[in-house]
Amino acid sequence: MGEGKKETRQDRMFRSLLRLFPFEFRSDYGRDMEHTFADQRREAEREGTPGILRLWWETIAGIFRTAPREHWEMLRQDAGFAVRMMRKNPGFTLVVVLTLALGIGANTAIFSVINGVMLRPLPYANGPRVVRLRQMAPLAGIQSAGFSPVELNDYRQMSSTFSEIVEYHSMSFTFFGQGDPQRVVTGVVSANFFQVLGVKPVMGRLFLPGEDQRGAEPVLLLTYSYWKNVMGSDPKIIGKTFQMNDRVHTVVGVLPPLPGYPDTNLIYMPISSCPFRSAPRMDTDRDARMLAAFAKLKPGVTYEQAQADAGRVAAQLAAEYPASYPPGQGFTATVAPLARELTEGARPTLLVLLGASGLVLLLTCANVANLTLSRQLRREHELAVRATLGASPGRVFRQLITESTLLAAAGGAFGLLVAGACMTPLVAFAARFTPLTGDIRIDGIVLGFALGVSILTGLLFGSVPALGTRRGLAKTLNQGVGRATEVAGRHRVRNVLVTAQVAISFVLLIGAGLMLRTLVKLQTVDTGYRTENVLSSLVSLNFTKYAESPARLAFFQRTLELISHKPGVISAAFASPFPLDNQANPWVGSLSVEGHPLPKGAPYPHANLHVVSEDYFQTLGIPLVRGRLFNAGDKEDAQEVVIISESLAKRHWPNGDPIGQRVSTNDGKQWNTVVGVVGDVRQYGLNRPPVDTLYAPLLQNLHMGGVLLVHTTSDPRQMAHTIVAAVHEVDPQQPVVRVRTLDDVHDEWLASPRLTATLVGLFASLALIITLAGISGVTALAVSQRTHEIGIRMALGATRGRVLRMVVGEGLVLVTLGLIFGAGSAPIVTRPMADLLFGVKATDPATYVAVALVVLGVAATACFIPSRRAASVDPLRALRSE
């Protein structure tokens, strides 16, 4: 090179700029361009600085114009080639696209639920600033005691972190005016309840200040669904009047679609419309706790500060009014952000499902990577030829990545269809855990997720084989084109992939196994009561019509008498609540036992209180352990009696006889004599142990109705009409709703764990099938590549059995390794499942052993099939084939 041709700094800068071009372009023209630029530079230097500046301006502009075009062109070529390759191998393409569609589809579907439930902002404008305020007495087992109006007033005055506190409770009203009288679940709220939540009506207005004061005109807000479904989206609904119980209410507004929280109410009223809440004693009785409370935080207040504040007020009240807050019960107050309240129930299940679907996708990637590796082996020749024709290793790498990304994109597109098809059942599934299902849909975020997952999947399953190729190509070329040689490294990669697949499948199967065992345990758990041939129906009395107890007594007595004399009826009873009643809030009270003073500092005993009619225990087949059941003599003017559950009896009279002893649920204000002990019942969930329960006779506690239970001789469904007719014979205006058999209630309770188990099981089965295909494929490929070696072995005297054992054994080594890794990681991965399990530990050895045996057995079969081909190798032909 002459003097003038020496490389300068400008030349080096230009070379750096060339990096903006695709690798292939640079390898083709990079040097030429550098020479050309050097020539241009020398020429420009003659013109001085203006010449140099102009050259650089033109050069940079040219590069920024051309480089993106070259990248795009390269991508277009790669994509075109990839599409041709996919068309040429329709079988491979179909398998890969479908596998990926299942993997990506499952993840997208689960993600759309998580997005709708957990990621989206709440449909309340003030959502992040609103908390649920709870009063609890943990030492007495009371998780949510409710507030009395007196207490809420104290909290309003004494707290410093809440700008507003509003109250809520739910009641059933009888609604007249749309055909038959209906029972409508109604939210009864402070006038500013919706303003605090940040809800705007879609029509009309919200409640006005003062509308919750006694004597205000009765007004109503309709929920969106009630207005749409029952009122036929009547555009002139505002101002219309409807009778509810005994009062005529005017509709003032329609709410927007909102989650069914705190209850699935159909209508809202101000508290002035509720006769119980408006009773004068509510102004003075600190213990009349019937309300839920929500509070809006003052600006800048954190949840922690609000929590401390609520606790401080509770402690102050407890010190001031010890009679209302018995010291042993540990009364306190807590706050919970609204978002947590709404999603808490769904979080564990959704996260477990996301984890399971994520594992399936990972496994899908491993499997597709393996498939691609195997196919690559057959493509080695083609790739090597392309390399000799000038395709750089970078170009081949890029080509393979483009192919895998395109396959993943196609998988993603079909995956969206899979997700779309899953939407309706998944929304129904999620609705079991959270009211926030209105926002579950495939939106921009979900589409973005699907796209992101597809691209990531493509890169993940494409890069493993492509990297192998980049390293292996040079070796292949050295050995000569036309001889497709397995590179040992790649064989190792495939083995690692299969091991990973086995490990992932094992973890998923453990998850499914644990869920299945949970389900079996739940199905076989002793409920303590009869579910066969019992019909339940909800009969809530119109509390204005039945304000006096003689009216209620007459209704209960006549109804039970009429029904128990119907043919086919064995017995009938009223109860509140009944077992597994998911709509009832259990009444939990503190329990005092006469003659058993509470030792200082001991936790306060508590019990759940149920009100049942005479034949309740016979109707549900709950056994009498000791004493007697209720009878007609247990009336209002007789001695006040209770029946206790066996666990309660054992706790308080471990060695004595409870019959004749007296207990109180109101700190000794009133004592009830124990007349009987009955068997324990799983009242609040098959997964929850029986709680200490007190049963009080209906005739001494004439409440506002409850559940009518009828034990029949045959299928109770056929009796439904007769039973409803009997109630109407007593009171034609009495709504009878939620008519279900106890078997249905039991099944309905099991539906959530069953669905979760089914979904995890589905993921695990999918994983197992994909893994078996993987093991089988790898073994088959290993056999076909080792035909020569196997031939030599057989020529040297190896028997068929020995060859078979060798091939199956090598496959099983991978499987065993996978099982070891799986068993090592399963306890960590399945830890979040603990909340969903019942009667089985997350590390249950029996499940581990059973799953390992299943995987081993099925894997052995998967290895065996290709191994038979190995054993049938004809040594002579195998040797000649080389």
Binding site: H35, T36, F37, T59, G62
Partner: protein, 122 residues
């Protein structure tokens, strides 16, 4: 030859840079730098190809078969071994002719509309 004749229409119209590139090769094979200088000279500096644009065109014209890289090299003494020489292919010539014809048509149209003076016979 029985091979189907390639259509030139999809490649038209050419940009000024593309057309001048092809024109530059019409009277003989050149290396890229020579093409660059030729284009600048032919257009009196109005069309200046930067290195990026120039090699972008080279890559495209080669892949579209409008130019071919010459395999034979000049005599060793004359050969600048850094250079690669390009020749206008038959198809490239057809594209250039089609573009020239298109421009000629435009020019006659402009004349008919009296936007340009008629050429006087010498």
């Amino acid at each position: 030859m029985s091979a189907k004749k390639r259509e030139t229409t999809p490649y038209l119209p050419l940009t000024s840079a593309e057309f001048h590139f092809l024109l530059s090769l019409a009277d003989g094979d050149k290396h890229a730098y020579a093409i660059m200088k030729d284009v600048s000279r032919l257009t009196e500096g109005a069309v200046r190809l930067s290195a990026g644009t120039l090699y972008g065109l080279v890559r495209r014209f080669v892949s579209e078969g409008m130019i071919v890289e010459k395999m034979e090299r000049p005599a060793a003494a004359l050969d600048d071994e850094r250079r690669r020489y390009y020749r206008l292919s038959e198809f490239g010539r057809e594209v250039a002719i089609a573009e020239a014809g298109r421009l000629a048509n435009l020019v006659s149209l402009a004349r008919a509309k009296r936007l340009l003076a008629r050429t006087r016979p010498a």
